[in-house]
Amino acid sequence: MSTARYQVVGLQKSYRGRLVLDIPRLTIMDRELFVIVGPSGAGKSTLLRLLHFLEPPSRGEIHFDGQRVSFPPPLALRRQISMVFQRPEIIRGTVWQNVALGLRLRGENRPERVENALEMVGLSGFGDLPVNTLSGGELQRVALARAIVVAPRVILLDEPTANLDPHNVHLVEKSIRDLHHTSGATIVLVTHNIFQARRLAERVGFLLNGKLVEVSPAEQFFENPKDERSRAFVRGEMVY
C-alpha cells in the first residue's frame, strides 16, 4: 500500500512581492512517478526547489513522510532527496569524481554504487574521463548518475532532457524508467514537453502561472482532461 511522501498545504512562494507559486493542496505518493507539465515560467522549477527544501516557502507547509518540515531542514532529510537541474552544474575533475561526490560528502566510499550508477545511465567506462571532454548529453547523464548514486528516496528532475538530441533523450528517459522500476524512489519530473510526459508519467500535474490547474492520472489527463486549459495544452493549442 502506498502512502503520501509529500503533502503540500497552502504553499506559496513570492519573489520580490511577486507571487510565482500558489498551491493550496498537492499530494505526491511514495514510489510514484509524478510529472509536472506546464509552459516555461509556470513555477515548475520553483516547486522543485521547495520540494528539495533548498528554499523556504513564503507561506504554507510541506509535509514529508507525514512530518511537517520547517526551514532550514535537517541535513539528514535534505540528503534523502536529490535533484537533476536543468543545466547540469559539473565540478572540475573526472566523471567518477562528479558521480562519487554525493557519497563523498556523506563520508561514504562505495565504488560499486558509482559503477552501477554509471552503468544505469550508459556511461560505464567513462569514469576516468575529465568532464570537459564530454558532450552536453553525456554531462546530463553524469548529473543523473550523480543524483541516483546516493540512493535517495526522492529524485527531482528539472527538464533533464531540455537541450538534448533524440538519442540522449531516449537514454535519459530509459534510465528514469529503470530507476523507477528498480529503486523504489519517488520521482518528480518537470517538463514542458508534453510527449515526454505522456511517455513517462503515472500521474500528471498541470502547472500554469503558478497554479495547479489539474492533477490527474496520466491516462485521464491525456485522453480526457477535466480542465479546458489542460485540454488545450495536451492538444498543443495552448498559446503562452
Binding site: L54, F85, L105, P130, V150
Partner: protein, 231 residues
C-alpha cells in the same frame, strides 16, 4: 644604453661568482617575502572565502575595509607596524624592530588584504547554480564552502600571485621596519635604493635584474601549480 649593458653584465657576473653578499641578500628577500606570502595566504584565503560566501552582519564593511587595504601604501603599512613594534608600542616587548621578523610582519599586513579581497571576488564568481547543486548533493555548509573555494581555485591562485607581486618588490615597508642593515635586514629592494643613492647605478640596476628574475621565477612556479591543478 651603455649603463643597461654594463648592469646586465655585472648582474650576470655577480650571479656567476656566487657573490656571498648578494646571495645573502637574495636569501633574505626570499625568506622575508616567502614567509609573508605564506602567512598572508593562510589567513587571507579562508578569510576571503568566508567574506565572499557567508552572510553575517558587518560583512559589507569588512569588504570595504579589505578593498581599501588592497591599496594600502607600503610605507603606511610599514609605519603602522613600526609604531606597534617600537619600544613604547604595544608589541615593543617582542623586540622585533629592525629584524627580519618585523619585515615579515609588515609584508604580511600588505599582502593579506590582496589575498583576502581577490579570494572573496573569486568565490563570488562561482555561479549560484553550482552552489545550489552542491547543496542539493547533500553538502553541509562547510563542505559547500570548501567545494566552492576549490571551484574558484584559479581565482585564488591569481590572488596569491597578486599578493606575491605586491610584496616581493616593495621597499617602503621593509625599509622602515627593517632599516636596511647590511648583513641583517638588507633585501634586494632596499639594496637597490641604497646603491642608487650612492651613485652605483650599474650595481643598482644589476640588483634590479636579479629582483626581476626572482619575480619571474616565483610567478612561473605559481602558474605551473595552476596548470597542474587544471583538468
Amino acid at each position: 644604453m651603455e649603463i643597461l649593458k654594463d648592469a646586465l653584465v655585472q648582474a650576470i657576473g655577480l650571479l656567476l661568482r656566487f657573490d656571498p653578499a648578494l646571495l645573502e641578500i637574495v636569501w633574505l628577500t626570499l625568506r622575508v617575502s616567502g614567509s609573508a606570502l605564506v602567512l598572508a595566504c593562510l589567513a587571507g584565503v579562508p578569510f576571503g572565502a568566508l567574506l565572499g560566501l557567508a552572510k553575517f552582519p558587518g560583512r559589507r564593511w569588512l569588504l570595504v575595509l579589505v578593498s581599501t587595504g588592497m591599496g594600502l601604501p607600503p610605507v603606511v603599512a610599514g609605519l603602522i607596524v613600526y609604531l606597534l613594534l617600537s619600544r613604547n608600542g604595544p608589541l615593543g616587548g617582542l623586540d622585533w624592530l629592525f629584524t627580519p621578523n618585523a619585515m615579515i610582519a609588515a609584508q604580511t599586513v600588505l599582502a593579506f588584504p590582496l589575498a583576502a579581497g581577490l579570494t572573496s571576488s573569486a568565490v563570488q564568481e562561482v555561479p549560484a547554480g553550482l552552489r545550489l547543486q552542491i547543496q542539493s548533493l547533500g553538502a553541509t555548509r562547510w563542505q559547500e564552502r570548501w567545494l566552492v573555494l576549490r571551484e574558484a581555485r584559479r581565482g585564488v591562485l591569481a590572488a596569491v600571485l597578486a599578493a606575491f607581486g605586491r610584496i616581493i618588490a616593495e621597499v617602503g615597508a621593509v625599509l622602515l621596519v627593517g632599516g636596511n642593515v647590511a648583513g641583517k635586514t638588507r633585501v634586494l629592494s632596499t639594496a637597490i635604493v641604497l646603491e642608487t643613492r650612492q651613485g652605483n647605478f650599474a650595481l643598482a640596476l644589476a640588483l634590479g635584474f636579479v629582483l626581476l628574475g626572482l619575480a619571474l621565477l616565483g610567478n612561473a612556479i605559481l602558474l605551473r601549480l595552476e596548470a597542474g591543478s587544471r583538468s
